[in-house]
Structures are given as structure tokens and as C-alpha cells.
């Protein structure tokens, strides 16, 4: 394809547009306003940055245009200092693909000076460019007057003022995109396109390979970039003086007053605590209702399918493999939606920057970021949305550590396991008259998870090395009313990403686990089935048949590959106080830890799998081999509790970790670390008793 930048865009053509701007320029809101739900999310090759592509079609005087718009990650300049900026730089330079036909630089009209740095750099790339003065309403409110005609003249490109909140100026922007031109002005003497390539990591790598030491090169590059920025700002100061009239005293008093409260030593933390409480309550309790509906409708379909399909391998696969796997994916949607809704509110309003501001010092000691507080606290509900939510952390090292430690927080799926085990070994005793002993044990488990999270983060801080420079030099945006529609679009996109990218891994593992627990070495499996069918025909009552069925399923599981594996691994888990029955439960609950309770119910052929009570009774009756001592004593129960507190046992988390880190190594180290920690801690616990 020929993409000569000088070419005038012809009518009825497809135009590829790149949306560029500083973070907080309202770029994403503008993108959502332009394209609505007509979006696609993909990946940039090799990095964990999401590629947002949106489409829009329109007609201007008999000519049809269709735009494909890329929302590039926010950047402050074309000299990249983060992965986000590097991606933006590469796309504009056309390093991996063709450069865009038109670059739209989005600026905050009330803060134009700083935003013009990136604009002049983009203009110097000699791509047809349009400048957007976004959030023009805020500039007007601050009595900032911008001479658009003059700005057009000095920059040499089209300039449009837009208010993406009420869609003012959107039509004009579309029109101007079709008219975009290459500026004949240049903002740094003799700047060449090639110069910008010097800063990208590919080029650095090439230099490093060639010279084995890029210190001198880096020094020279830094010197050049500094000179470039200084020069540009001199030009910008001139442009600014000619085109912008702002009142002497800038009144940002509202934001400052809010800051006085939100970053106050007492109220600041009090309000943050309240916000976290609300977020947590919503993803923990409110999400419970839709999750219940999803689970119920899936089990309804599974029952219907099981009843109507001819018995056999294929329908078993469909019902207990695929449908069960799908249910395990879809069930996460309410939590993901709610968490991203809240993160969207916090980000859009400007509060997230303040959370970072007041938490940074505390979290920095553990190698975390002030923004880690939201994912980590949400980890108590579910690690899956929390890990997806670490995107707000721009520092790679701090983000990776947050992803690594979040699954150590005790999530809601551990709750049924905790409740069952605690109720097995603890009497209903009151302490100090009002506190329940079991309540204390449960709280202890949550604290244990939190302690492990912080300690692990601290250890990782010492181990993990990244080449990326770590900054906290961060803009504190003014408070704004969040745009609900734009947040809604982001939520929908996040759900789509989860369903497609994590979903396929989860489904694959579900099917493998289904096979392991429903198939076995053929001979013994066959005899079992024959015996059961014979006995069933002789059973005289429905109750009797149910009992038979439960016993049959218990035997079937024992004879399956999962059972075989459980027995094989008994020597390994014996030091923890576990037998082969627990071994089977460990295997089946590898996909999701809450499956532990159900598997124990099947193994002990409990009639009613839904209620904890019947499993509990069966487990209480279980005695140690050739003795009268109960098998599930305190040592075994505590050992199991500690094991489940630390073990990964959640394929959805693993799938999401892979998707967010793009690294098998990172995912596997997490699995190995958590399994190792679980094993050692359970071993120590068992031997303490």
C-alpha cells in the first residue's frame, strides 16, 4: 500500500486515524464518543498493551468516509520512557505497520502549553495532523481564550475545539480529519524522521548488540532529547503567548479544596477506607446475586441437557466438561463489571491519583504502588478482576509484583473451604461472651493471606529487576464528573477481553479435568459401571437408588485417572497429613478451589452435595486407620486450611496472569511459588500439632 504522507485523502476512502495525547487529555472519552461500541480490542505484538480500534462511517456532501481509529496509549512525548509511550511512538513511526493516514493530537485546552510538546513532535513526523482542543468547556469556564485561527496558522495544521461530553465539535472534527494536511512548519531545526527512531528500544538493542555498551550512546541521546525539548518549549512559549489569553490568577480552588479533605491525614484515609469498603461490599455481596443467577441457569441447562441428550461420552463431555467450563467463565462477569465500573469512576473523577498520592510511601516499602491498594483489597473478593485491574499501575515492576501477590489474598472462593474445615475441628465456643471462636479462626485466615501478600511483595522487590526507569512524577488531574457512558464502554471491552482471552484457557483446562475425573483405566471402570447398572435395576425405592448412585459416583471417582493420581501422590502429601482422598480433591480443585467441598462430598458419597452439613457429618465420622481417633483432627484441618490459603488452585487466575503478563515464565513462577509456599507451610503446621 502506498502511504505517501503528502497524498490528499480521496473521497470514499478508508482512513486510518491514530488518536494521540497526554494521559488525562480526555483522549479515551473522545475515542468512545467517536466510535461508541463499534470497537475491537487486540494486542500490540510482544507487549501487554491493549490495542483499541474503533470504527465510524459518515457522509460529507455525497462522499462516504469510513474511519478506523486507533486509540494509542497516553504519552507525554515521542521520546519513550514507558512501554505505553514506546507503543505510541512505534505506531506513529510506522515501525511495525504502515503509519496512520492521519494523526489526531488530543490536548487539554485548559492546559495547552504542556500538551503542545507532543503536538509539535507529531507535526515534525510529517504525518497529516489535526489538533483537538479538548474539554473546551473547562477552558471557557476558566476564562482561557484561545485564538484558533492564529494557532492554525502557526502550527500549519487544522485545529478543532471539541467538548466530548456533549459531543460538541465531533462533526467538525470528522470533517477536518478528511481535510488533514502535513504542516510545512517544523519545530526543531533540521529534525528528521529518523531522529525519533533513535529513542525506541529496538534501536537501543541494535546499538547494544553492536557496541556491547550503550552508555555513551545513551548519554548523547539524552543530551539531544533534552536540547530538543528545551528548544521546543521555547517555540511553544512563543506560540502560547501569541494564541492563548488566560487570566493572571488561575482559579483551581475547587480542586484544591477537595484535595485538602481527600489527602488529609485523618479524613483522607477515612474516606479511602470507606471507598474501599463500598467497592469490596459490591464485588463481594452484590455480585453474589447475578452470579447465583448465572450458576442456576447453567445448572438448569446442564440438567435439561443431561435429561434430554442420549447418554454417552459426547453428552457427558458437553454437560460436565464444556457447559461446566463455560459456567466457570461466565460466572466472573458480574465481579469484573462491577470492579471496572468502580475503577472507571475512581480514575475518571481524578480520585485514583490521590489514592496513589496518600498510599505511595507505605506501599513503596513493599515494592508496590499506591494504586496497588485497589487490586489487593479487591483480591479478597476475587483475584481475577483485580489482576485485570492492575492496568492502572504504570510502573512495570510494581504492576508485576501486584499481579504476583494478589492471589495470596483470601478470595471468596476460599470461603466455603474455610467454613467447612473450621466447622470440622472447632467447637461453637464463645470468647468474651460475644465473639465466636470460629469467627476468630476465619479472621485469622484472612490476616494470614494479607501477611503473605505483603511479605511476598517485599521479597519480590529485592529480586525483580526491570530496565524501565521508575518514576512517580505524575499528573494530579483536576476533579471531574465521570462519564458513565464512556466507563460503560470500557467495562464491556474488559468483559470481552476476559471472555475471549482467558476464557479459552479456562475452557481447555476444564475439559482436561473433566476427562481425568470421569475416565479411568478401562477395565476397572467398566466393571464398576456394570455392577451399578445391575444393582440399580434391583433397587426398590427412590431413596435407595439415590444412595446407590452416590456410592457409585464415589467409586467411579476413586477408579478414575484423578483417583489414580491421588493415590500415586499420597507419599508426597503424607507429610502434610493428607491421604489419597484429599489428594483427589486437590487435583479436582486445581481448576477452582471451591470444588474441594463438592469433591469431598462425592468421595464420601454424601447424599446431598449442596449442603455443607451432610459432608461435615461424613467427615466427622471418618476415623484414622485401625483406631478410634477422628481422622479430621486439628492438625489435618489446620494443615489443609493453610494449604488452601496459599495454593494457587485457580486456573482462571492463572489464565488472567498469563494474559496480563504475556509470559509463561511469570505465570509458572507464581504457580510454583504458591504451591511451594502452601506445601511448606502446611508441612510446618501439621508438625506443630
Amino acid at each position: 500500500m502506498e502511504t505517501s504522507p503528502q497524498k490528499i485523502i480521496n473521497s470514499t476512502s478508508k482512513i486510518s486515524v491514530a488518536l494521540i495525547g497526554n494521559p488525562n487529555s480526555g483522549k479515551t472519552t473522545l475515542f468512545n464518543a467517536l466510535t461508541g461500541l463499534n470497537q475491537k480490542t487486540g494486542n500490540y505484538p510482544g507487549v501487554t498493551v491493549d490495542k483499541h480500534l474503533g470504527f465510524t462511517k459518515f457522509k460529507i456532501s455525497e462522499n462516504n468516509y469510513s474511519l478506523s481509529i486507533t486509540d494509542l496509549p497516553g504519552a507525554y512525548s515521542l521520546y519513550p520512557k514507558s512501554i505505553d509511550e514506546e507503543v505510541t511512538c512505534k505506531v506513529l513511526l510506522g515501525i511495525e505497520n504502515n503509519p496512520p493516514n492521519v494523526a489526531v493530537v488530543v490536548t487539554d485546552a485548559s492546559n495547552l502549553k504542556r500538551h503542545l510538546l507532543l503536538a509539535t513532535q507529531v507535526i515534525d513526523l510529517k504525518i497529516p495532523t489535526v489538533l483537538v482542543l479538548n474539554m473546551i468547556d473547562e477552558a471557557n469556564a476558566q476564562e482561557i481564550k484561545i485564538d484558533i485561527e492564529e494557532l492554525k496558522r502557526v502550527l500549519g495544521i487544522e485545529v478543532v475545539s471539541v467538548n466530548s461530553r456533549n459531543k460538541e465539535g465531533l462533526e467538525e472534527l470528522k470533517n477536518k480529519i478528511t481535510l488533514a494536511n502535513v504542516s510545512t512548519n517544523s519545530f526543531y531545526e533540521n529534525i528528521k524522521l529518523e531522529t525519533f527512531k533513535l529513542g525506541t528500544s529496538d534501536f537501543r538493542k541494535a546499538i547494544e548488540n553492536q557496541f556491547h555498551n550503550d552508555k555513551i550512546y545513551r548519554h548523547q541521546l539524552n543530551k539531544f532529547e533534552e536540547a530538543d525539548s528545551l528548544y521546543r518549549f521555547n517555540v511553544i512559549n512563543y506560540i502560547f503567548a501569541k494564541t492563548v489569553k488566560s487570566p493572571q490568577h488561575i482559579t483551581k480552588s475547587v480542586s484544591e479544596k477537595i484535595d485538602k479533605i481527600l489527602t488529609h491525614p485523618v479524613f483522607g484515609y477515612g474516606i479511602l477506607f470507606l471507598v474501599l469498603l463500598i467497592v469490596f461490599q459490591c464485588i463481594f455481596f452484590i455480585a453474589d446475586y447475578p452470579m447465583g443467577w448465572i450458576e442456576n441457569s447453567f445448572s438448569f441447562f446442564m440438567q435439561k441437557a443431561a435429561a434430554n441428550l442420549p447418554a454417552g461420552q459426547l453428552s457427558d463431555l458437553l454437560v460436565n466438561g464444556i457447559l461446566a467450563g463455560l459456567s466457570g467463565i461466565v460466572v466472573f462477569i458480574p465481579q469484573i463489571a462491577l470492579l471496572f465500573f468502580f475503577i472507571g469512576l475512581l480514575e475518571d473523577s481524578g480520585y485514583m491519583a490521590r489514592v496513589s498520592f496518600i498510599m505511595d510511601k507505605l506501599f513503596r516499602r513493599f515494592g508496590l504502588n499506591g494504586k496497588s491498594v485497589i487490586p489487593i483489597v479487591s483480591g479478597v473478593a476475587c483475584a481475577v478482576p483485580s489482576i485485570l485491574g492492575t492496568r492502572t499501575i504504570s510502573n512495570t515492576k510494581e504492576r508485576l509484583i501486584t499481579i504476583f501477590v494478589t492471589p495470596l489474598m483470601s478470595c471468596s472462593a476460599r470461603l466455603p473451604v474455610y467454613t467447612l474445615l473450621i466447622s470440622l475441628m472447632m467447637p461453637d465456643k464463645q470468647i468474651l461472651g460475644i465473639f465466636n471462636l470460629k469467627g476468630f479462626a476465619l479472621m485469622g485466615m484472612y490476616l494470614l493471606g494479607f501477611a503473605a501478600t505483603l511479605i511476598t511483595a517485599f521479597i519480590l522487590k529485592l529480586i525483580v529487576k526491570t530496565k524501565e526507569k521508575s518514576y512517580f512524577i505524575m499528573e494530579m488531574p483536576v476533579y471531574r464528573t465521570p462519564q458513565l457512558k464512556s466507563i460503560g464502554i470500557i467495562v464491556v471491552n474488559k468483559i470481552k477481553i476476559f471472555l475471549w482471552e482467558a476464557g479459552k484457557i479456562i475452557l481447555a483446562i476444564s475439559i482436561i479435568l473433566w476427562y481425568l475425573s470421569s475416565h479411568g483405566p478401562s477395565k476397572s471402570f467398566h466393571i464398576l459401571e456394570k455392577n451399578y447398572t445391575e444393582q440399580e435395576t434391583w433397587a426398590e425405592s427412590k431413596a435407595k437408588r439415590m444412595e446407590l448412585r452416590a456410592i457409585y459416583e464415589s467409586h467411579k471417582l476413586e477408579a478414575s485417572y484423578a483417583g489414580w493420581l491421588g493415590k500415586k501422590m499420597e507419599p508426597i502429601i503424607k507429610p502434610l497429613g493428607f491421604d489419597w482422598k484429599i489428594g483427589i480433591a486437590l487435583i479436582t480443585s486445581f481448576a477452582a478451589r471451591e470444588v474441594f467441598v463438592g469433591t469431598m462430598a462425592t468421595i464420601y458419597s454424601a447424599n446431598d452435595k449442596e449442603s455443607n452439613k451432610s459432608v461435615r457429618e461424613k467427615l466427622l465420622k471418618e476415623k484414622e486407620n485401625n483406631s478410634e481417633k477422628p481422622k479430621y483432627n486439628e492438625a489435618v484441618c489446620w494443615s489443609l486450611l493453610v494449604f488452601y490459603a496459599f495454593a494457587m488452585q485457580c486456573m482462571s487466575t492463572m489464565a488472567v496472569v498469563y494474559r496480563e503478563t504475556k509470559s509463561w515464565k511469570w505465570m509458572m513462577s507464581q504457580l510454583i511459588y504458591m504451591s511451594g509456599l502452601a506445601y511448606l507451610s502446611a508441612f510446618v503446621t501439621y508438625n506443630l500439632f
Binding site: R114, L230, F472, M476
Partner: protein
Amino acid sequence: MLTLLKMKTLDQLKIGESAVIKSFSQRDLALKFMEMGCLPGEKITLTNIAPMGDPIAIEVSGYQLSMRKKEASTVLLEE
């Protein structure tokens, strides 16, 4: 080195205090600061200090910028 130690740096400002940027003592941070609008000659005002004493926030060219104290100590100010 001694003169550098004596120089007033951004992390030493008190809330409400203003100063003018002179230069930077670390090259790679200097570029980041400049891109964020902190240029030599620019007037800045310390607006906020986090409850635990770090990070801090300044007002520069009409907006608020936060940074850690360690980073602020590389910004040298005019006396």
C-alpha cells in the same frame, strides 16, 4: 559537590512556598521533568505534602504535579 549540597532543592520547600527552577542534577529525570512542564526559569509552588511526608505535589504552568521527595531533590532552585 559541596556547592551542590548547599543548593536549595525542590524537596525543601514548605507548603505555599514558591520558587523558580534553576537546573536539574540528574539527566534522565531532567528530561521527564521538562516534558511535564518543569523548565528552567519556570515558577513553581508547593501545594501539598502527602500525610506520610512523601510524595509531594507542586503547581507548575497551571496544573498539579506530584512526585516523590527523592525525585524532587534533583530539581535545583534559584536562591
